[in-house]
């Protein structure tokens, strides 16, 4: 009998489905009910990878339920391209859930700022935490139907903005800044997305004095705090492993090099 919280084991692929745009893949693995918090992640490595790719790959848990463990990933390189080829029945080694999560403040407004595939960790959050104090602003490059946007928008107040040109990006930054300013002293933002976006989020949080949390996607080898490869720099100048002290950090705690 496998303990459902056994931290490392082989899970079976239930489905591996490309979204309408094949650069996004929806992967579901058999996982009998973990307790897992939004923003936590897992390390995954197909059992048959052999020696060529030595690292597992980190992904946010998109959702975990009786249906299984769901991950949504973007194909960007060798590892994710090979993960996209998984078929049902194959085994994937998984360890987790790992890291620190997004901390919701139920008494105040929480605004999710998601960029692209950075929307993934918020699917579970929207499903579980339906609260009137939760809303989302989503910036995206591909058409909206490629992302699990509707799953979230059905449950919480959401708006989406597409960025195709430099002008769109500039406009998104303006809107981000306004939303962050509006929450100063009254609420907080929770952000996950590409690093340039997180830098913008952090900049305006500090400028307006708004509370915020950002999830970092540093390169990771072990996921458990041992290799020291994934460190982020704190404002105090210390290097801290983002796999155990993060990936979700308080904006006032972490230095994003801007």
């Amino acid at each position: 009998m496998i303990d459902s919280q056994t931290p490392c084991r082989d899970l079976e692929v239930i489905s591996c489905t490309p979204a309408k745009d094949p650069s996004l893949v929806d992967l579901v693995l058999s996982a009998p009910g973990w307790t897992c918090k939004p923003g936590q992640f897992v390390m995954i490595r197909p059992a048959h990878w052999g020696a060529e790719l030595v690292w597992p790959r980190p992904f946010s848990v998109c959702d975990v339920s009786d249906q299984g463990l769901r991950i949504i990933f973007q194909t960007v390189g060798r590892g994710t391209r090979r993960l996209a080829e998984l078929v049902s029945g194959q085994k994937v080694t998984v360890w987790g859930p790992l890291g620190r999560w997004f901390r919701i403040d139920e008494a105040r407004p929480n605004l999710i700022l998601a960029g692209g595939v950075g929307i993934a960790p918020f699917v579970m959050l929207a499903r579980r935490e339906k609260t009137d104090n939760l809303s989302m602003l989503f910036g995206h490059r591909l058409d909206l139907e490629h992302y699990p946007y509707a799953e979230i928008a059905d449950r919480i107040k959401s708006e989406a903005m597409q960025q195709k040109t430099m002008a769109d990006i500039a406009e998104f930054e303006t809107v981000l800044s306004e939303r962050i300013k509006a929450l100063a002293g009254v609420g907080q933002v929770l952000a996950c997305g590409p690093e340039p976006m997180l830098k913008v989020v952090r900049k305006y949080c500090l400028l307006h004095g708004t509370d915020g949390q950002v999830s970092l996607e540093n390169r990771m080898a072990c996921g458990v705090g041992a290799c020291l490869g994934c460190v982020g720099k704190t404002v105090a100048g210390d290097y801290v492993q983002s796999c155990v002290h993060g990936p979700v950090f308080d904006v006032r705690e972490i230095d994003l090099g801007d």
Binding site: V54, C222, G225, C227, L228, V231
Partner: protein
């Protein structure tokens, strides 16, 4: 089969040790297995003062391997003794990995660890390619290697001293001999091979430090050759490492003459790999009819 191995005064439950820098302070892996079931754990390199390490990015994946330029980030010996060592379960064979920039500081670290009952042996890292001072230059010059080993030996008390050799030399036997002549009780090899990876689009190195240390299956043939050469040239126990990712790999190192092995990058491929390996090595040895490691070690036909 009795898995026990004796390396001079050091007895291990089995030949599988986790390699320095790939197993943290051991504590990180306690959710994944029983540390005391391993032959031993070798700790992340520890220096007298805490070290911040190198800027990011510090790691890059390469075919069948990885590059790292961590730069020996560690909490420093004081914090280690207070905040880490007490939490490592009793019965675990703990090997401290020492890093310093002068022979005197190496000696000082050895003196501190010699007082600790929980530390079974000292591994002297004179082979780190990722730090400017000390590091690999000690491991490339026989006189400097000898000075460091002498300083450590003098203050190590009864703790066995293992000297970890660099592959980044023309003839590894020269340094091996210098270390043994200076009093090394054992040798371990290999540390990482100096390497590089670049990005043709950004035109930058994939590591902030530009160069880093290569580890993983890609380096196994080099490691095996060097262990073979060193075993032929010195008379102390040798611990082999470099690219071990299976029970077969472990037996290959023992076949060429290693007393024990360390597994490094393999710990990243799956956090319970070292624990699984102990069992797999036993099963493989038994299936080959090996009665004891003493019978099998160094029986390579040449």
């Amino acid at each position: 089969m009795d898995q026990t191995v004796k390396l001079g005064s050091l007895t291990l439950k089995n030949p599988v040790i986790t390699a320095s820098g790939t197993f943290g302070y051991g504590l990180e892996f306690m959710r994944y297995g029983d540390l005391s079931a391993l032959g031993g754990i070798c700790l992340k390199g520890i220096s007298l003062a805490p070290r911040a390490g190198n800027p990011m990015p510090r790691i890059a994946e390469t075919p069948c391997g990885m590059l790292n330029a961590i730069g020996l980030q560690n909490v420093g010996v004081e914090k280690f003794l207070k905040e880490k060592l007490p939490y490592i379960p009793a019965d675990t064979t703990v090997i401290a990995n020492l890093y310093a920039q002068t022979p005197e500081d190496f000696g000082e670290l050895a003196a501190i660890f010699s007082e600790e009952d929980k530390i079974a042996a000292l591994e002297v890292n004179i082979s780190c390619p990722n730090v400017r001072e000390g590091g690999v230059q000690f491991g490339q010059d026989p006189h400097m290697a000898s000075a460091v080993v002498g300083a450590v030996k003098k203050r190590a008390g009864s703790k066995p001293v293992i000297v970890k050799l660099s592959p980044n030399v023309t003839d590894v036997r020269v340094i091996a001999k210098a270390a043994v002549d200076a009093g090394a009780d054992m040798l371990s090899l290999i540390n990482t091979l100096s390497g590089m990876a670049v990005d043709i689009r950004t035109r930058k190195s994939r590591l902030a430090n530009v160069v880093g240390g290569l580890s993983g299956p890609a380096i196994k043939p080099v490691a095996l050759r060097m262990v073979h050469q060193v075993v032929q040239s010195v008379n102390v126990p040798v611990i082999g490492m470099g690219g071990i990712v299976s029970a077969e790999d472990v037996l290959e190192f023992i076949l060429v003459g290693a007393h024990a092995v360390q597994v490094g990058t393999y710990n990243f491929m799956r956090p319970d790999n070292a624990f699984r390996l102990v069992e797999e090595v036993r099963v493989l040895a038994e299936s080959l009819g090996i009665a004891s490691w003493d019978d099998y070690r160094g029986t390579l036909k040449v």
